[in-house]
Amino acid sequence: MPMNRPHNGKRSVKMQQTFSGILIGAAIALSGCATTGVVEQPTVANKTDPYENFNRKMFGFNDHVDNYVAEPISNAYKWITPQFMQTGVFNFFNNLKNVNVVINDVLQAKFSQSAEDTGRLAINSTVGLGGLFDVAKHVGLEQNEEDFDQTLAVWGVPQGSYLVLPILGPSTARGIPGAVFDTAANPASYVGMPVQLVSMLNARASAEGALKFIDEAALDPYVFTRESFLQWRNNLATDGKAEASDVDGLDDEALDGDKGVASGQGSSGDVNAGNKAGLALSLDANTKEIRQVSHSFSSVAQSFDNTAKSFEDAGTKVDAFKKSKRLR
């Protein structure tokens, strides 16, 4: 069974990065693979992707933007910029991101990790000359991936529907408020246009390996991107603890499916499962889409409500924490 992995020295470094969170994130954000030519037709709804038709169009649009704008500029950047400078630029923006990582460590109550990441930020900002050199890596402080979307997941906010945003790429209902917070907590957001532009170039250039991999391995680039994005986010949010049981369930589901079909209940079982997930799957094709959309909107609204509630909960928790400290 094929796996997503490296080939040779130079490429393996690239492919490695495919797996490092930043790259997949950036890659997917700028995802580039042709989806044109695929006949648009209503498909069996995926419960996490009720807007598949809209999302596919947006994916196609982003792909065009990438092909005609982002990729040429990024290639030019890579051509004129020496490798050590590209690495420096990557390290610089990565270091700024650590401000947000530390905040989210604390919000998720990962206190020892927050101490490590603070150390990482401090070392790289000083000895690493403002973040240009990743000195912390050499003293054993690995880069951690934390962001506000993961914090919301830890607080119990459901993921919501999968959405492909214009230019920004894959996200979820929970990912949008997450991204707003992440942007606010990144110092790079508060400087002028040239810095922003370099930041974007850096993101696209670092995504190169991942984009190439999608191009090589994907039969349906849209689905490939969606699945790897959702799995990658889930893996980050659960710190890698979700995988084994999920996969076991997948296998089991497949076997159950076989049994179901044998007894002639296969497809109706599918519909029931969809309903349980809060997705109205009407057999009437005309009303199907409308009902799905309205349901998904309410689920998005619900996610926002839950987010707000989680904030309140967190507030109460902090109060309680303060009190218990005072008592001590």
């Binding site: 080939h7 490429r11 470094v13 689905v223 893996n235 996969v247 997948l250």
Partner: protein, 205 residues
């Protein structure tokens, strides 16, 4: 004296059972960990000769290791989900064949050459449904290691790989989404064409 005899009898019995057990393991074929480690060793060996072998050579050398360690028929069946039942017997056979070729081809393409990489075993755990997950990681010099978790199921008296999870991304789940989507949107022939295109691309690079 009697007590001593009883003691030695008990010890003897234990030893007897222990030997029997040891034999049972040997006769029962390889354990899940052994299957994974054998496959990883074969893969590293092919990588070391990768340049010399070329794509065709790597494909030939990996054919048996991949087919013997992976449960390719079952994987092909799972990745098309409920669509499997809708396929004719001939189509099912074709799917298994093409899918097996794709699996070997992508290994041959992705594991081109060697620059000090190695696999390290981390741990092993049983899942609730009688499977075993072997956790390992792939060490790449000067880079972050990639986590590789192999999910295995028992087949006959041996274990076979049924899924690989690389840094949390499940190959089986990813393929399943892709294949079922293509089958539903474009049909069986389109799926076969697309897989064959991928195999062609792998062989060219």
């Amino acid at each position: 004296m009697v007590l001593k005899n009883v003691k030695s009898a008990v010890v003897f019995m234990f030893l007897l059972f222990a030997t029997v057990n040891a034999f049972a393991v040997e006769e029962g074929g390889a354990t899940a960990r052994q299957v994974v480690e054998k496959f990883q060793a074969d893969l590293i060996a092919v990588m070391k000769d990768g340049k010399k072998l070329g794509y065709a050579g790597r494909y030939e050398k990996l054919k048996d290791p991949v087919s013997n360690s992976h449960e390719l028929t079952k994987i092909a069946r799972i990745v098309v989900g409920k669509e499997w039942e809708k396929l004719s017997e001939e189509q099912q056979q074709k799917l298994v064949d093409v899918f097996s070729r794709l699996s070997i081809a992508s290994y041959a393409h992705n594991f081109k050459d060697y620059s000090g990489e190695s696999f390290v075993f981390d741990s092993e755990e049983e899942t609730t449904r009688g499977g075993v997950v072997v956790h390992s990681h792939f060490v790449v010099p000067d880079d972050k290691p990639v986590k590789f978790d192999y999910m295995l199921k028992e087949k006959g008296n041996s274990w076979r790989i049924i899924n690989i999870i690389a840094n949390g991304v499940s190959d089986l789940a990813l393929k399943r989404s892709e294949y079922t989507t293509i089958l539903q949107r474009e049909g069986f022939d389109a799926l076969m064409t697309k897989i064959n295109e991928k195999i062609d691309n792998y062989s060219k690079q």
